[in-house]
């Protein structure tokens, strides 16, 4: 036998190298396989090893409505993850979604109805039962109804107001309000993307684009932080990465701030705020005048001619755009050529372009780039959103008889998504009256521009005699209520859902993954109870609209009769799977949706080119423009002898020329309007705000995992601008607008335009729970904060909750789409003054009221409207009179 004792370690290494060279790495224990986590759908207790119960649901941490699965152990949610059956979110949740279960067990959650006992906002309450609370609300509502009936004035019913900030009830809010006879349902969309919707809807029907990011080759991003926030952040960011990394697409981003999306881009440009439209129009100018446009598409599918567009765009040269935006003309020209000649391509835009006065025009200009390059509804292009609907239970209440001034201001006839920002000013000036104000998923005292005005109005019992909040959390708004009837959190409630978050249309369900905690009651049940108390014997004719035995009964009425879903089990199918239809499985390697053979399930494209059937065409007529009408309704468009369903417009073509805009003196084609902020003084700056990836606007600051990641919001200021003002990184600064000032901290960076200062939202709460308010530090050492080492005792190592900018942001309404001009406030920035403290906020209600008067001057009824639209050829003295319009 050989003696191995003389073999050295070096000898073994040599042998090993030799073995490696012949591929021996592949040998070894052949029974061993790499541990692989199952791709969703199962989870096990870390302590007992037992399988956890999985319950699918639809997320509502923000408004993207991702598909999720909750894992429940011993009746508690212990983990959330994405639902692998959801075709658009493909098994992924964002940080907000993953942390969502903390909402349920938040010790600062409102767990019982509370009746105010002190002054409004004083924080004095008395606990009452849900029964007592719903009886009280019903009594207040009945008083209004009885008065309206006695005086035979249906307009009195509009004194019942429901203001929502996030309404994903699938029609429950509207059913409730219409049953009561009121049209005063006030949205929040105008502080979000209303002008985007109004920029798109008249042109092609729906309100947003669904880009085919994964298959595109070129992306122009205008003012959207796709990777972090914006509409459909989770699915869009997944597919954007698929496109840029997997498909080698080029990404060009326009944003005043170097967001994480811009830092991911191939090129980043920082235009002056509110000039994206000038850039888009200049690109359109290049594309049209250099004949790079899609001639067939423009001819066949739009309501304008190429010549008309060329003439309209003549003055929008790249040099003009450079003058306005600061983006070099040579780059605008180059990018326009690249965009027009790289196929397929798409734009995406969100808050950046539209949150301005005249933001609607900017959206329309960006949208036009896709139209003239023929990228609409192409694979890899700029596609229509794909959603699904569900029926409302019968009988459905009709809308109220009288239009509501608060819901549909007459000065804004095109603002189809309301102008909620005006409401407190209308009340202050006595232009509208309220008897009962109800607040659902809404926090305007924190989230609205000039938020201090909302606080003053909501605290005024003369203006709002009775104020009810349905919030499960004590927000800055809810703390002013007379009565709180707490809803449950989104993981404990029912809603039907469908969000066009990708190219696969689907619907989903939100269902309680655990029983409502501690016997709390979901909003939907509260609505049933209130209506049954308003009309106990049905004599008012209201009760029949809420003839549900249970909330589940209501949900079945939505889902059980939908063709296709019905055959698979309707509501029961959705309870089990969470989403319908199931398109396939997520391929673990490519993350694409594949069928059982592993082939990709491709979404449908060219939806507008679906042809009408013979039976659909039976009895139809075709007009000179090719529009196909049947029973007085446009059902399609005939092009080159083929009958297509077309787009959701009156002509069934893309209407770049908007006749309805012209009717009110607005330009029917996309234009650029120079804003007052563009003419600011040299020492002034424009205040911009932004969202971050781990927070919603106001609802997540008390979630520990998220607050730990992001809890303070220093103001981004360019290093040159900071140096010019003697400001160093981390120093206290005063940011002053016409309304007042805030004292915050400076974050000196190269990643922002020198004439812009940017402050994120989601921080600086004065309410919403101990963590958002950071009571841990403020009141130490009181009982709730800990007198010892807070890091060890509470694991809250930060001592800065940030400063909220909204009190100094001026009210400014886009006269077309109604959006708030979040990025139109001009400020001065200086070092903090002696006596200033971090977090100081001073804002004048009187100055905000002047803004209200000023912004009305831009409305079509205002004196600045004609001055700003000299180019519109219309009989200016014969514009339609301002009148109440719309019904709920």
């Amino acid at each position: 036998m050989s003696n191995f004792t003389s073999i050295s370690r070096r000898d073994f290494i040599k042998l090993g190298s030799a073995a490696g060279a012949v591929g021996a790495f592949g040998f070894g224990g052949r029974r061993l396989v790499a541990m692989e986590q199952k791709l969703g759908g199962q989870d096990f207790s870390a302590t007992s090893g037992g399988e956890r119960q999985s319950v699918p649901y639809t997320c509502l941490a923000c408004n993207i409505e991702d598909g999720g699965v909750a894992y429940v152990e011993n009746g508690r949610v212990v983990k959330l993850e994405g639902n692998m059956d959801h075709p658009n979110t493909r098994g992924k949740l964002c940080a907000k979604g993953n942390s969502g279960f903390l909402h349920i067990y938040d010790p600062d959650r409102i767990m019982t109805p509370l009746l105010r006992t002190g002054k409004r906002g004083e924080g004095k309450w008395k606990r009452i039962s849900y029964d007592e609370a719903t009886s009280l609300l019903a009594k207040k509502l009945r008083e209004v109804i009885d008065r309206a009936n006695a005086e035979d004035k249906p307009e009195i019913l509009n004194e019942i107001v429901l203001k929502w900030g996030r309404n994903r009830t699938g029609g429950a809010c509207e059913r409730f309000m219409h049953a009561l006879g009121s049209n005063s349902t006030i949205h929040h969309t105008d502080i979000c993307e209303a002008s985007k919707k109004v920029g798109l809807e008249p042109s092609w029907g729906p309100d947003i684009e669904s880009c085919d990011w994964a298959n595109t080759k070129y992306i122009l991003n205008f003012g959207s932080n796709v990777l972090e926030t914006a509409y459909f952040m989770n699915p869009n960011s997944q597919r954007l990465v698929d496109g840029v990394v997997g498909n080698k697409a080029k990404l060009v981003s326009f944003d005043v701030r170097m967001s994480n999306t811009s830092s991911f881009a191939d090129e980043w440009f920082a235009p002056f705020p509110g000039t994206d439209g000038a850039i888009a129009l200049a690109m359109a100018h290049v594309i049209m005048h250099e004949d790079l446009y899609d001639k067939d598409f423009v001819r066949d599918w739009t309501n304008v001619t190429a010549e008309q567009l060329k003439e309209h765009l003549k003055t929008y040269t790249p040099e003009f755009a450079e003058e306005e935006s600061g983006v070099p003309a040579k780059d605008i020209r180059r990018i326009a050529r690249e965009f027009a000649t790289t196929k397929p391509a798409t734009t995406f835009s969100y808050r950046g372009p539209v949150k301005h006065v005249y933001g609607t025009y900017q959206e329309a200009a960006i949208h036009m780039l896709n139209v003239i390059t023929g990228n609409v509804e192409k694979k890899g292009g700029y596609c229509l959103p794909r959603g699904m609907g569900w029926p409302q239970p019968e009988p459905e209440p009709p809308k109220g008889k009288a239009p509501s001034l608060l819901a549909s201001p007459p000065e804004y006839p095109l603002a189809s998504h309301h102008v909620s920002t005006l409401a407190p000013y209308r009340l202050k000036k006595g232009e509208a009256r309220v008897s009962v104000w109800m607040s659902f998923y809404d926090n305007p005292v924190y989230t609205y521009p000039s938020s201090h005005v909302w606080k003053e109005v909501l605290q005024d019992e003369n203006l709002i005699p009775f104020f009810v909040s349905f919030s499960p959390f004590m927000s800055e708004t809810t703390e002013n209520a007379d009565l709180i009837i707490p809803d449950v959190t989104y993981l404990e409630r029912h809603d039907p859902e469908s969000m066009p978050s990708g190219l696969y249309p689907c619907m989903s369900i939100r269902q309680p993954v655990v029983k409502p905690l501690g016997g709390t009651q979901e909003f939907r049940q509260t609505l049933i109870d209130v209506i049954h108390k308003v009309d106990p014997d049905g004599t008012l004719g209201i009760k029949k609209y809420f003839a549900f035995d249970s909330v589940e009964d209501w949900m079945r009425a939505h889902f059980d009769e939908i063709p296709g879903l019905k055959e698979q089990g309707g509501y029961d199918f959705l309870k089990k799977k969470g989403v319908w239809p199931i398109y396939g499985k997520v391929d673990p390697d490519t993350a694409k949706i594949v069928d059982r053979n592993g082939n990709e399930v491709e979404p449908d494209y060219a939806l507008h080119e679906k042809q009408l059937s013979q039976s659909q065409m039976e009895g139809a007529e075709i007009d000179e423009q090719g529009t196909i009408r049947k029973d007085g309704k446009a059902i399609g468009v005939q092009i080159n002898g083929k009958n297509y369903v077309g787009f959701g417009t009156p002509s069934k073509k893309i209407e770049l020329y908007k006749e309805n805009f012209k009717k009110y003196g607005f330009n029917p084609l996309p234009v650029y309007k120079r804003l007052p902020s563009r003419d600011k003084k040299d020492n002034e700056m424009v205040l911009s705000t932004y969202k971050v990836n781990v927070h919603t606007q106001s609802r997540t600051a008390s979630i520990k995992y998220l607050a730990e990641l992001y809890h303070k919001n220093p103001a981004w200021i360019n290093s040159k601008s900071a140096a010019a003002r003697g400001i160093k990184d981390g120093e206290l600064i005063r940011v002053t607008s016409k309304l007042g000032y805030i004292v915050t901290q400076a974050h000196v960076t190269e990643g922002i335009r020198p004439d812009v200062i940017a402050i994120s939202t989601a921080c600086g709460h004065s309410s919403y729970g101990r963590l958002s308010q950071l009571k841990v530090k403020e009141q130490a050492p009181v009982w709730s904060q800990g007198g010892g080492d807070v890091d060890i005792a509470n694991n809250v190592w930060w001592d800065d909750k940030g400063v909220h900018p909204n009190p100094i942001i001026q009210l400014a309404v886009d006269p077309i789409g109604g959006s708030q001009g979040w990025f139109d406030t001009v400020v001065t920035v200086s070092k903090a003054e002696p006596g200033d403290s971090y977090g100081d906020v001073k804002a004048s209600v009187e100055a905000s009221v002047k803004d209200y008067e000023e912004t009305l001057r831009y409305a079509y009824t205002g004196d600045l409207h004609r001055k700003n639209h000299k180019e519109v050829d219309i009989e200016w003295d014969h514009l339609p009179p301002a009148s109440l319009h719309g019904h709920g």
């Binding site: 508690r76 006992t117 005792a793």
Partner: protein, 250 residues
Amino acid sequence: MQNPTMVISSTAAQSQVQDDRPGECHSQSALYNLLGRILEEELDYEMLRLLKGDLRLPLEAMGVELGAEFDSVSESLLLDQLAEEFTGLLVAPGCISPYLSVFETGALFREPCDRVHSAYQQAGWDYQRHHSGEFPDHVGTMLGFVGVLYGMEGKALETGDNLTADDLSVQRSTFTTELLGPWAPGWCRRASEAAFHPFYQQMLALTEQLLWSELATLVDRRKFRELSDLNRREPSKLDYNADFRKASGI
């Protein structure tokens, strides 16, 4: 333990060697039930009249002054004032959360709640909430449970069922030591300090002393010191239990 404003001493331990042990148990039962009731929900007319009437002198003898307010304002107004204080102190967001689970983990309805509920069930009791948002690990309910155990023990002794009485005594002792002892006296002190109304200030301070005196009879000096340290802890704000965090994916 902070400087006590009032000191009461438990008779529980002494009662073991005295003849009237059943009576002592019933006495303790009544006291725990009373304090549990006061902390569990708002006062009603019946309770108020009891406090103003039959219980006034015994409470005064313990150093509890109900104050002139109890006589000078109408009962309905007084009940409203006390309800407002109760809600702000123990119910509404920002309150001194009366739940063991919140104290220990920073979140509602966590595992400590199960332990408390399980103790109730082992003794043949279950939990039924009266208001939404209530859980078994409410300090008032827990005190009431001690009262129930004392009462059952007293009855067992009266019937000569010493085995059952001993078993109940062990259950009570374990519950008090393990589930109330590590947090409730300290919680009472903090809540007493946070209360605006003298009635709740005093009742919470009284409860704290009752618990300390009880614990002093149940544990040795070393354990008592340990509990004393535990009661100096601040409540946890957040659950940083490793499994909890891991489960969240963070």
